[in-house]
Symmetry: C2
Amino acid sequence: MILGFLAEGSLHGYELRRKMNELYGYAREISDGSLYPAIQRLIKSGAVVQRVENGRAAKRHTLELTPEGRTDLHQRLRTASGGNVTDLGRFMVILAFLSQLPDVEEQHEVLRRRLKFLEAPASFFYEGGRPLRKAEIQDVYRQGMLTIGKAASRAEIAWIRQSLGIAAP
Amino acid sequence: MILGFLAEGSLHGYELRRKMNELYGYAREISDGSLYPAIQRLIKSGAVVQRVENGRAAKRHTLELTPEGRTDLHQRLRTASGGNVTDLGRFMVILAFLSQLPDVEEQHEVLRRRLKFLEAPASFFYEGGRPLRKAEIQDVYRQGMLTIGKAASRAEIAWIRQSLGIAAP
DNA sequence: ACTAACATGTAATCTGTTACATGATTGA
DNA sequence: TCAATCATGTAACAGATTACATGTTAGT
């Protein structure tokens, strides 16, 4: 997220935190204690440079992405896998910055990985390795989980197919 | 999750991990290094007791929920808030065990908190504190985020309203 | 004068991740 | 006999959370 937002333009930490909280805060609030150490790690790795602005009385550290930082971002987007693809919240973060990947074919490759996950038979509950279907579950809230998951999945599959230019089967 | 699964019956760690991975593994894989220390913390807090089974050659520790553990689970479900309500993945875990709450009115109160969140105007991107609508966003993938989010939200609102016995507005 | 928002950090503690470490059982 | 699965843990390291710590600016 830090690399993604900085790829759109230089920011200082406070603005960055606000944007990060808007994008992801519904899932997990970004606190000072996690943001500033994360920025320091990126500075240490050479992905970000910090310039202290003198224009204001209050010290204000403008953060700028280096060419290495941009390469790092591209690599992270290109190789998105695991939870970054299967968890909706984390995939949304990938989606928010996917346009930063210069090659459209690489963008589509990421979408295809998400599509593959969505199209695989899945449940939250299994019996002998086999995903349980709604009719096999007694609990109303667990039935609801499948109802909700199915609706979300259908909508997303339709959108991805359309984005990739694939006809609905 | 540990308290929830143990509320349905005693299990040993390995089975517990499998069930946890089925329910939540799409988002984050449960590893031994996080599960076993978590179990030890629950034993220390008195929520869980461990009985070593002698029936098998391989040592097998059956985990059982104590009455205090059950009270703990109920309290966690009853007071679910923040990310546990706003993050879909975490809310799903709440939903999976919500029937464990003895009072139906308390179950509904949790659903109402989720409904309130879903019905509030929200986006992933804001301008001057105001959520941006799809038409105001240029990036196709960010438009997709809103498309997906809206569809998922609509389906979930409909299901919760139906569960609560509220007519569609 | 006071409050909210702006602005940046550190310290102690807790938790998660990854790799290591061990051993039994079951089926090919 | 070999591999997969069952079964339980620890150790080193990385990262997150919470509280602490400080100071400015703009509006009422």
